[in-house]
Symmetry: C2
Subunit: 336 residues, 2 copies
């Protein structure tokens, strides 16, 4: 049975999270979630000759690990959905050369992880597909030089800035029963709260996160306490506090169950300003740490809400504000 | 009934092409298909103060026209899938601020039109959605300055170059019966034939087009003559000839039924080098000219194969080759 309510789609024991793969850079490995990642590199080049190739390697790692851990071969995969931050999705496009698998590129900035996952869930639920790989990647150095300044400048940054995660996370979404099921998804709308500071994307994204979370709760007629954990993608410190304030004003208290991937991935003594961001942030935390919490039974129901700031540098120079979006996916540990 | 064969998905009288919308610049209006477009502008600024805003207006036009011509309101639309060539999909992202509709950004370069259309068809076929808008846009001036040189340079170009179409095409994909149905789709794989000349994308994309067309024919066990017309996206002159050669070598003769949107959209006396390209090329030709041919009964079955070159300028500087992709959608005029 399929229920459609506004922007939320509910799946009835038909969409499962298969194997996942995560591969990260050295800073992420040193962080508090270091033990939850499948693979890591000692420097940001990851054994490659430039940063773009390094990010390609991270993405390739994550996809391969997710397929291997699912006990599948590439030919068992019906479709790959993948995206990244680098102009025209080239990291995904170039990695796909090595996979003989149908491919659709997606872009939702840092919401790409849950955007690809929710699309795969809808397609698996349609019974037209058996196994779909979803993936997202980012790299601190490829993102810095594209969005900000030549990395060598070493520009000073305000404390509101977030730090792009170096890594990639991938997952197989399948109709084959596993220990974790995907129970519903909420597709976000673009929300522009008229903020224009690209060095404070957490504040810009918080209203998109609250919009999607509230829509999800209303569509399903549930309270926040339905979930053991509501995790946002990468609002980081400042954006997280704004989200909690907005939710409070709308009479939803999520203070005790909210966390943010951008806050979880680095420790306070790591020099990352307001916290982590980038497509990989929500991807590696969800497919590593949160998956582990579910498998160990420490949480049973989790809502992951990936947020994205949909700008580019030209738009900022043209004095435009920053449109944002948030997509939500609900995970649940299956009963034994 | 749903049949899945490799990369091809078949729909049984359940997915229809609703209203379509096209909006173009002056050169496209002056071309041989000028009469088939819904709206056009007298200059490339389209009444806006910069080219990015002009492209946003074209996209907004196309989406609005497609919804209006479907007899729908924005609140009847379950989802919008849209993409463009400008870094990080900003044209689509910024236009979406004005639509209160769930949104997923997609990127397939010039294959984006059929990529969004096939994804919508799969989702409509899943019976989870009623009406999905798909859209793609490009603008000669936004693309030129991003991919090549500052437009003011007026650089000389080789004859193999294609000319980015200024325009946008959109369509409503629906479960409501209309005069045209979508009967099957084939999702492409990334094919890199090791070409590295960004001024000859037609040659680079031809092998991706042949791969998808042959897969489509084999998956469905049909001959090319099943279709009255097989139209590629924007291989233009040089790429089209390469495609016909490859097909011939593989024992498929499509010479008499093949045409190319990049060749159709401009006349020989318009100074466009090898022909048209850009996300809008396949979109405006399909949603204008080809739709009209179907409606008038001049053709009954058409396969549209949109092609995309998945590069960016940094990759070319890093001496990488150009990965390409092609996605196919089959249209059929419904019996009266």
């Amino acid at each position: 049975m399929i229920k459609v309510k506004s922007s939320t789609y509910v799946f009835d024991n038909i969409v499962y999270l298969g194997g996942t793969g995560t591969s990260v850079g050295p800073l992420e490995k040193e962080g508090p979630l270091g033990e939850t990642f499948d693979r890591s590199y000692k420097d940001n080049y990851c054994g490659e000759k430039n940063w773009e190739k390094a990010e390609q390697r991270l993405l390739d790692d994550a996809i391969t690990i997710s397929i291997v851990k699912s006990g599948l071969l590439n030919e068992d995969i019906d479709l790959i959905l993948s995206g990244d931050l680098i102009n025209q999705n080239v990291i995904s496009n170039y990695v796909m050369r090595d996979y003989e698998v149908p491919f659709l590129g997606m872009y939702g900035a840092c919401s790409t992880s849950m955007q690809t996952l929710l699309t795969a869930a809808l397609l698996i639920n349609s019974k037209q597909f058996n196994n779909i790989v979803v993936a997202a990647s980012s790299h601190n150095s490829t993102a810095e030089r594209q969005y900000r300044y030549p990395t060598e400048y070493g520009n000073q940054k305000p404390e509101t800035t977030t730090f792009t995660v170096t890594g990639s996370g991938a997952a197989v979404v399948s109709n084959k029963k596993s220990e974790i099921k995907i129970t519903s998804v909420t597709i976000g709308k673009v929300i522009d709260s008229k903020q224009n500071n690209p060095n404070d994307m957490g504040s810009a994204m918080a209203p998109a996160a609250s919009d999607t979370i509230i829509k999800h709760l209303k569509d399903l007629n549930i309270e926040p306490s339905y979930y053991d954990m509501i995790v946002t993608g990468d609002l980081s410190e400042i954006g997280s506090n704004i989200l909690l304030d907005i939710m409070q004003k709308e009479n939803y208290n999520i203070n005790d169950i909210h966390d943010d991937c951008g806050k979880l991935i680095y420790s306070e003594d790591q020099k990352v300003f307001s916290g982590g961001s980038g497509c990989a942030c929500c991807a590696v935390v969800t497919y590593g740490f949160i998956k582990n919490l579910l498998l160990k039974g420490k949480v049973k129901k989790v809502l992951v809400v990936a947020t994205g700031a949909l700008l580019n540098p030209v738009m900022i120079l043209q004095k435009e504000t920053i449109p944002c979006i948030a997509h939500a996916v609900a995970f649940e540990k299956c009963d034994d």
